[in-house]
């Protein structure tokens, strides 16, 4: 009898070990499971903020903080990015010196395609962002490339986002391509690793610390983070790209920040955008 009991206990242990292993969302190339990550993140925020609607997470902190939401709704009545979208449209439709234009570089003439970016390019073995392809389009047509963080590139990107409003984010992760998985895992790891003199990870503020006051600021939940970029920030007084925001936040951990469009930031965007699959594009956005 005693022996049987001991054995049963042993089996129980083995089983529970397997279960807890199967349940994690993967920390190595062999086990990483983006869908499990996405579902787990949604469930995490459902528990944290039971009153928030899933589709509302594209509105950042305003999805979970009703105080600042009112101010923001007032701002959105006369959207500060309106002129930038118009300028973006004009830039988008201006032909290059060789007679071609942006529309020639993108699927569907560049209209309504924001939700498919970033994507994994098998041929190039790297993550391609929308801003990257805007500049590649210019280069291929003999135009000067634009600076990454703000100005014309943000305007063109804002116009392209505008034409994609309400399209459902649809980031593909080819499972048979180890490179794509590795890029995703790299982005995930970057997001969760503590760094900088303050020893903070992105997650410390945007997962565990979401809607918890840090000095004068409330960090948004990471779910929905990429949907509304580029963004018009009152603090900037202008539009900025997602990677401009990444650099700023990276620096907030007192790290030496990476530059926009470096491989790590593109992998980060890939990971974050995948988390938003199923949510709708609402760019450009307005934030404090």
């Amino acid at each position: 009898m005693k022996i049987i009991k001991t054995m049963a206990f042993g089996v129980g242990l083995v089983l529970s070990a397997q279960i807890s292993q199967a349940a994690d969302s993967g920390f190595t190339l062999e086990t990483v499971n983006p869908e499990a990550d996405r579902v787990a993140l949604q469930n995490y925020f459902k528990k944290r903020f039971p009153d928030a609607e899933l589709n509302d997470y594209v509105n950042g902190i305003y999805a979970v903080d009703s105080n600042s939401r009112e101010q923001w709704e007032e701002i959105e009545e006369f959207p500060p990015y309106e002129f930038a979208v118009e300028e973006g449209e004009a830039l988008f439709n201006t032909t290059f010196a060789n007679g071609k234009g942006y529309a020639d570089c993108f699927e569907n003439g560049g209209i309504g395609i924001r939700q498919n970016f970033p994507y994994w390019s098998k041929e190039e073995g790297t993550v391609k962002t929308l801003e990257m392809e805007i500049n590649e389009c210019r280069e291929a047509n003999g135009e000067k490339v634009l600076k990454w963080s703000k100005g014309d590139i943000a305007k063109v990107s804002a116009y392209m986002a505008w034409t994609s409003r309400d399209q459902v984010i649809d980031i593909k992760l080819p499972e048979d391509d180890a490179g794509a998985m590795a890029a995703y895992l790299d982005g995930k790891k970057f997001f969760y690793a503590k760094r900088g003199q303050l020893n903070l990870s992105c997650a410390n503020c945007h997962v565990q610390g979401a809607n918890i006051r840090i000095r004068a600021d409330l960090p948004s939940p990471q779910l929905g983070h990429t949907s509304h970029f580029p963004v018009f920030r009152s603090k900037w007084g202008e539009l900025g790209t997602l990677h401009r925001r990444y650099s700023g936040c990276h620096k907030d951990s007192r790290s030496h920040p990476l530059k926009p469009q470096t491989e790590t930031f593109r992998n980060l965007e890939y990971f974050q955008s995948y988390m938003n699959n199923g949510l709708a594009i609402n760019g450009p956005g307005a934030r404090k």
Partner: protein
């Protein structure tokens, strides 16, 4: 100066990993609460909370020594940058150290370079810690 030497010796003498960890905790706590050189007791002995780099920089304030310390800080910071864990202020501190060196303020240059090297070493430590701990905050 004497205390610093005691500590440098102690760091190499600590026998097991577990013991080393609790020594480190005692050390970090004393340092955080009472600052550089704070004396604390661990396992019945007294130590001074002095960083490795501060011991290193506790040498004659000459141009050669200051240059050597700046070079060490630069090399360490390059190492941490390659790992992607460079801290924000380190390059600026190294620049300040170089300016002090040019101005003939060798003591200041030594101390600043020591601080920069400390930042870089901590960043490297952070990188290694991250490799086994980043998973902890991923929602499951």
């Amino acid at each position: 100066m004497k205390k610093a030497l005691i500590l440098a010796a102690a760091l190499t003498l600590v026998p097991t990993f577990v013991a080393a960890e609790s020594f480190e905790n005692a050390y970090l706590q004393a340092r955080a609460m009472y600052g550089q050189g704070a004396v604390f007791e661990w396992n019945g002995k007294q130590y001074a909370a002095v960083h490795e780099e501060e011991v290193e920089a506790d040498i004659a304030a000459t141009a050669e020594n200051a240059q050597m310390m700046v070079d060490k800080a630069k090399a360490k910071n390059k190492e941490v940058a390659e790992l992607g864990f460079e801290w924000k202020l380190t390059r600026g501190i190294i620049k300040d150290a170089e300016s002090a060196l040019t101005a003939g303020e060798y003591r200041k240059a030594l101390d600043l370079a020591a601080q920069a090297k400390y930042h870089a070493r901590m960043g490297i430590k952070q990188y290694h810690y991250a490799q086994s701990s980043w998973q902890l905050s991923v929602p499951q």
